[in-house]
């Protein structure tokens, strides 16, 4: 048994393999590019699916796209031209892809307007509301988790508050807030989207239940982090409990909370509709509901693709955030050799 004999019997794996490995070793940028690439793939699938669903739906395409609008020869001709229905299927598909890529989602024959303009004009109020609600949620979650983690009394108070918020439907919370702050105290406007103060109550109604869920996950993560050996090390440096929580604990706790937040924000966009109705706000939610009820297919398709875009963006963002939060996930940070 000769131990020094190095029988390297395989010069087989060619340069192709080594190039593949070099690419993978190319660190953070490659990792992020990969995530974005797979996101684009999902988007493409969503667009394709919407195209396929139009063609597979029972009945003829023209009446599907017209919805409840009166069918005249002029409208029919316009639709045939817009969707290229006289051309072969692959050409239709390609032109559909190109149109979507250029942000052209066709025309709503019920509302007599361009879908992309309609969506654009309505998405801004919804985004504003969502962003404000997210802000409320994060602030609530952070404060509740940092102040209550691992402390018996604050923990049960925060727990009870969160349970109440989670189990209250946000329209009911909205009505309560309206009653208290608008009708009785007259601090905020009752409805509309004219000023910043009109955003406060809807954001609270939408954001607080969300913050309650995130807060619970964040607190659990924080408590787990504070039990880790490194927490003892940090305390032994003379670091204060508050700094330990903010500087060390939160980052560990953020990992699961970020995933959850990504999913919840995605659902906010569709969940916003009730809050928008309660507070009489314009927004994408209302447009969607009306389109679905009126069988306004072009608008429904645009919203479907848009919501796919939102989910893909959010989940890519979550992945990138993960890499930023936890250096151990970055592929370029392999263990160094002594």
């Amino acid at each position: 048994m000769d131990s020094r004999n190095t029988s390297v019997a395989t010069p087989v794996p060619a340069f192709a393999v080594s190039r593949l490995f070099r690419l993978r070793r190319n660190g953070l940028t490659a990792q992020i590019a990969g995530r974005i690439g797979s996101g684009l793939l999902v988007l493409w699938a969503a667009v394709t699916l919407s195209f396929v669903s139009v063609h597979l739906a029972p009945g003829d395409i023209v009446s599907l796209l017209i919805g409840e609008q009166l069918r005249t020869p002029e409208v029919e001709a316009a639709i045939r031209a817009e969707w290229g229905l006289d051309e072969p299927l692959p050409a239709q598909y390609l032109s559909y892809l190109t149109r979507v890529l250029h942000g052209d989602f066709g025309r709503s024959y019920i509302l007599q307007t361009e879908v992309s303009q309609l969506v654009l004009s309505q998405i801004l109020p919804t985004l504003k509301l969502t962003a404000a609600a997210l802000f409320v949620a994060i602030v609530f979650a952070l404060v509740s988790a940092v102040l209550s983690a691992g402390r018996r009394v604050p923990r049960s108070i925060a727990g009870a508050l969160e349970l109440t918020l989670v189990s209250t439907p946000s329209f009911w919370l909205g009505i309560l807030l309206l009653y208290l702050f608008s009708f009785t105290l007259k601090l905020f406007p009752v409805s509309g989207d004219r000023s910043f103060s009109a955003l406060v109550l809807p954001a609270l109604a939408l954001g607080l239940p969300l913050g309650a869920v995130i807060g619970q996950v964040l607190r659990q993560g924080l408590e787990r982090a504070l039990e880790e050996p490194f927490a003892l090390t940090v305390r032994s440096w003379g670091t204060s409990e508050f700094v330990l929580r903010l500087r060390h604990g939160l980052r560990h706790a953020a990992l699961p909370a970020v995933t959850l937040t990504g999913w919840l924000v995605g659902s906010l966009l569709s969940g916003a509709v009730i809050t928008e109705s309660v507070f009489g706000r314009p927004g994408l939610g209302r447009v969607t509901v009306e389109a679905v009820l009126g069988h306004d297919m072009p608008v429904v398709l645009a919203v479907a693709i848009l919501s796919a875009l939102v989910y893909v963006t959010l989940s890519t963002l979550v992945d990138v955030l993960y890499l930023w939060l936890d250096p151990r996930l970055r592929s370029d940070s392999r263990e160094a050799v002594r």
Binding site: M1, T6, S7, F230, G238, S333, E335, A336
Partner: protein, 547 residues
């Protein structure tokens, strides 16, 4: 001169409901400036919680008639007062820097935290300070290490960085709680050298360990702790050479080494981990182990030219060959990353070798389909390092051990009988049958793992670091059990460990691995008495020894 630490009648309790749950029962602890004191005992003895009490972080109810640190009484201390003392008067080092440093922050960030610099607001640049500190704990090229994260450092550098954070504000006393327990022998030696340097420079040190051999070199004074009491204390040399308390003797005997070969490490009559103290009467110091039955004509396992690559040009295992006869014990020794676990995986058929073959009982084993191998699986059993995670937490002991009998077709009453039988062989009573893994002590868990491995009467046993997570005294019992059962059953044993003392004690032949290659192989006595390779010599030198 006033001592640095002067504690009288210290009690620590973790009250739960009406129960007092005292873990430390009135101990005295005095540490003078420039002294190195060691607190030794097994887990649960109260040594770690005592150490944490010194920085006000024990989480228990602490009582003392006197508790002075650097001349100040801490008896009325509030959290704020303790915080001022931490890091400046007393520094604290835990084991395993991989989890004892914040894995999400860089070395430089953590040093700045330890210096007490404001982190986010009005950051002061402590780069030079940090570099100098890293150099002083023997980290070469500190500029390169500062922006790195703990997981990017090697085990040795990581532990040094942890020590650096503890001494950042030049505390008068450094407490090291099992500072080398998770480390390889050579790295352990480096860290002990570093601590020895500090001792030479006149710094005060409190060492906490379960291993007398580790503290033997450094400590001026040793306190032996058992179940919350100090049972013996005195100058290190006296404790090591003339122990008066039977427990101290038991701890000393438990250290496996060349001289313990062929003898038991633990007292023979002991059947339970938490047995009461031994009779004080002088017992015969080493009881012999039963003789082994090696049948050299019967080859249970042959590995020929095993190669496992990862990536294109890196080798996890590079041309490793060995043979194992019935009843024989082969030790594979090497540090982390040497490829020894990959070898075990290839033998187990969990990883296919890129080239080379494994033969079991003379029949081809590698590169076969799992369906073909399954019938022969029962003849080969594994004992893993972490017994707890190798059990289904929702299974009882009976199910855990019984499951290994599936493959040999033993069911019903026969199964129950065999389970009780093997549990008895590892000295666990039938009262444990319905317990869950979490309800067992560390030593009991590893016994259950051994019972499970022996239950289907395997021809070959693969043990991957089976004792490295255990205290010395528990390790002693487990090693004795393994040796006894192996001798009685004639099972071949492939024993993987980073601990040369254990290998020397237990195995017949040894294979030393480094970077995936075989460095040296041969009979244990020959290799360890006259190592041919410089790496083997370095490994042997690194082993902390009792005088």
């Amino acid at each position: 001169m006033t001592p640095l630490v002067d504690i009288r009648d210290l009690t620590i309790a973790f009250p739960h409901g009406r129960q007092d749950n005292r873990v430390v029962h009135g101990i005295d602890l005095t540490i003078h400036e420039g002294e190195t004191v060691a607190l030794v005992g097994e887990s649960g003895s109260g040594k770690s919680v005592t150490a944490r009490t010194l920085i006000g972080l024990s989480a228990g109810v602490v009582g003392a008639s006197r508790f002075d640190i650097a001349g100040d009484s801490t008896l009325g201390f509030r959290e704020r007062d303790w915080r001022r003392l931490r890091g400046t008067k007393i520094g604290f080092v835990l084991q395993d820097a991989l989890v004892s440093l914040d894995p999400l922050r860089t070395v430089s960030q953590q040093l700045s935290d330890a210096f007490g610099h404001p982190g986010y607001f009005g950051r002061r640049d402590g780069r030079e300070e940090s570099s100098a500190l890293l150099l002083s704990v023997g980290i070469p090229d500190p500029e390169r290490r500062l922006p790195q994260y703990p997981h990017q450092l090697s085990g040795g550098l990581r532990q040094r960085a942890l020590i650096a954070t503890a001494i950042a504000r030049q505390p008068s006393l450094l407490i090291a709680d099992e500072p080398t327990t998770a480390l390889d022998a050579t790295v352990q030696k480096q860290i002990l050298d570093l601590l020895a340097e500090r001792k030479q420079a006149g710094h005060t040190l409190l060492l906490i360990s379960h291993d007398l051999a580790v503290v033997a070199r450094l400590a001026d004074r040793v306190l032996v702790m058992k179940q919350g009491r100090i049972v013996e204390q005195g100058p290190t040399k006296q404790i090591l050479t003339q122990p008066t308390h039977p427990y101290t003797r038991q701890l000393l005997d438990a250290v496996p080494s060349a001289s313990s070969r062929g003898f038991r490490l633990s007292p023979a009559t002991q059947s339970e981990t938490d047995a009461p103290a031994l009779p004080a009467a002088p017992v015969q110091r080493r009881l012999p182990l039963p003789p082994k039955r090696i049948d050299a004509t019967q080859r249970v396992l042959s590995a020929r030219g095993l190669v496992k690559r990862y990536g294109v040009d890196s080798f996890a295992v590079n041309n490793v060959s060995f043979e194992l006869a019935a009843g024989e014990a082969l030790g594979i020794v090497g540090e982390s990353g040497s490829g020894k676990t990959t070898v075990a995986k290839m033998v187990l058929g969990l990883v296919e070798p890129d080239s080379g073959t494994v033969l079991v009982d003379g029949q081809p084993w590698s590169h076969r389909s799992e369906a073909e191998r399954r019938a022969r699986r029962a003849g080969m059993q594994l004992i893993a390092q972490d017994a707890l995670s190798s059990f289904d937490p929702r299974y009882t002991v009976e199910k855990i051990v019984g499951e290994s009998l599936d493959t040999v077709g033993v069911f019903g009453r026969d199964r129950r009988q065999r389970v009780v039988e093997v549990l008895d062989a590892v000295r666990l009573g039938p009262d444990l049958l319905h317990r869950y893994p979490r309800e067992l002590s560390g030593g009991q868990r590893q016994r259950v793992a051994i019972a499970r491995a022996f239950a289907p009467r395997p021809k070959l046993l693969i043990a991957d670091e089976p004792v490295s997570a255990l205290d010395v005294s528990v390790q002693a019992q487990v090693l004795d059990l393994l040796a006894e059962l192996q001798a009685a059953s004639g099972t071949a044993l492939l024993f993987i460990s980073h601990d040369l003392g254990v290998i020397h004690h237990l195995t017949d032949r040894v294979l030393v691995m480094k970077d995936g290659r075989t460095v040296e192989t041969g009979a244990v006595e020959t290799v360890f008495a006259a190592p041919a390779h410089s790496y083997t010599r370095a490994l042997l030198d690194a082993v902390p020894a009792l005088p």
